[in-house]
Amino acid sequence: MLRTCFAAIFSLRSMSLDRPPDQQAVGSEETENVLQLPATARAADIALDELELVYAFIYARVGNRADAEDLTQQVAMKAIPRLREGSPASAIRGYLFATARSVLGGFWSTRLGLSEAELHEDLAMAMPHAPPSEARADAVQAILAQLSDNYRRVLELRFLHGYSLKEVAADMNSTVGAVKVMQLRALRAAAKVQVEL
């Protein structure tokens, strides 16, 4: 998008600069076109596109839309007014993700009553350098693949297929109580698998 934006600006600019001086004078309509390039709207679009990545990143960690929206909004409000002049897009992204990290840290520490230091220590809150990608679904499969058959099955049925506990119990010839315990143990085990989501 950024590239497109630059391309649009420079192509329009070169159109007017390449023109002989006499035609440039006449070409007020053309100049008007250059001036009317909606740069601010585009910049806002770019900001929103970056925030899309932030949203996906946060959503992947909180697993629900309402919290993801709240946290994304916090990131936007904290980061946008502070963007420094002339920062390259990569730095902007870095800043937004650093803010997202801090906001997420605050979210978990407030909800769980833990210091952020404890969170960082225990939950491997490290952020990826790259934005979330399509590879995330594969990463989940990679986590599940490292679990024992029963643990993998219970999490697959519950999370990926949306089964109720009762349905999982029926599928696995078990009881609801036993599935509940297995689900907890499977989640604990999944948390220990070191795969970057």
Partner: protein, 219 residues
């Protein structure tokens, strides 16, 4: 205290229904399992999630209405910040970018003056505790009233940013928005000085000779 497997299943069930994470301090014991559950619940949706169009629009509007920093307008920050400055300056666009299109001062706080408004009895002065907000309704006007000695002041119960109900947070002595992280002092001003939101609309309030609190609302 509920068993950990029951508690974690409650959280899992909420996540699978698309609900918020409602956690308590005691859940810290199972933080690893809970964060793993949140990640798995997110993965359930397939690839990276995109914002809901309505939320994106709302965010866009929030960005547009964001107050300018004293040293640079937000719009200029957006333009400059996203590397468009070079092209913009040369193309004479920065001037446009910094036009005061959204420079409305972040004041707000105008009083609510309903047409055919009428004074509505909402409480006894003795019911109000100093330093504590009380939610009252005067017809179509929702307000928080605050007592200061023998006088009262009132502000609207609706956030100045997103039109959501505010809740009185006794611990912080502030009105918290239920829809997003924003809060306001009893006088209606934003608690966030870095990113101040417009002040809450004031609501006319008075104390009668009989010691009753009245708010200017609607029938």
């Amino acid at each position: 205290m509920s068993k950990p497997e029951n508690r974690v299943d409650k959280i899992v069930s909420d996540l699978l229904k698309g609900r918020r994470l409602k956690l308590r301090g005691a859940d810290a014991e199972e933080k690893a399992a809970i964060t793993a559950a949140a990640r798995l619940a997110a993965a359930r949706q397939g690839g990276p999630q995109r914002m809901n169009p309505a939320f994106r629009k709302q965010l866009e509007q929030a960005l547009e209405s964001a107050p300018k920093e004293p040293w640079m307008t937000r719009r200029a920050a957006l333009v400059a910040g996203f590397g468009l400055a070079a092209g913009a300056v040369a193309g004479g666009l920065l001037g446009r970018a910094t036009e005061p299109a959204h420079t409305a001062p972040v004041q707000g706080g105008d009083p609510i003056n309903p047409k055919q408004g009428q004074w509505v009895d909402v409480a006894a002065l003795s019911d109000l505790v100093e330093g504590q907000g009380k939610r009252v309704t005067a017809g179509g006007v929702g307000a928080y009233v605050f007592r200061s000695g023998e006088t009262v002041t009132a502000v609207t119960s609706i956030c100045s940013h997103l039109p959501c109900e505010l809740l009185w947070n006794q611990a912080d002595g502030a009105l918290d928005c239920t829809c997003h992280p924003a809060s306001f002092n009893a006088d209606g001003t934003s608690t966030n000085h870095t990113y101040p939101l417009p002040s809450l609309n004031k609501v006319y309030a008075r104390v009668t000779a009989a010691g009753r609190v009245e708010v200017l609302g609607t029938a």
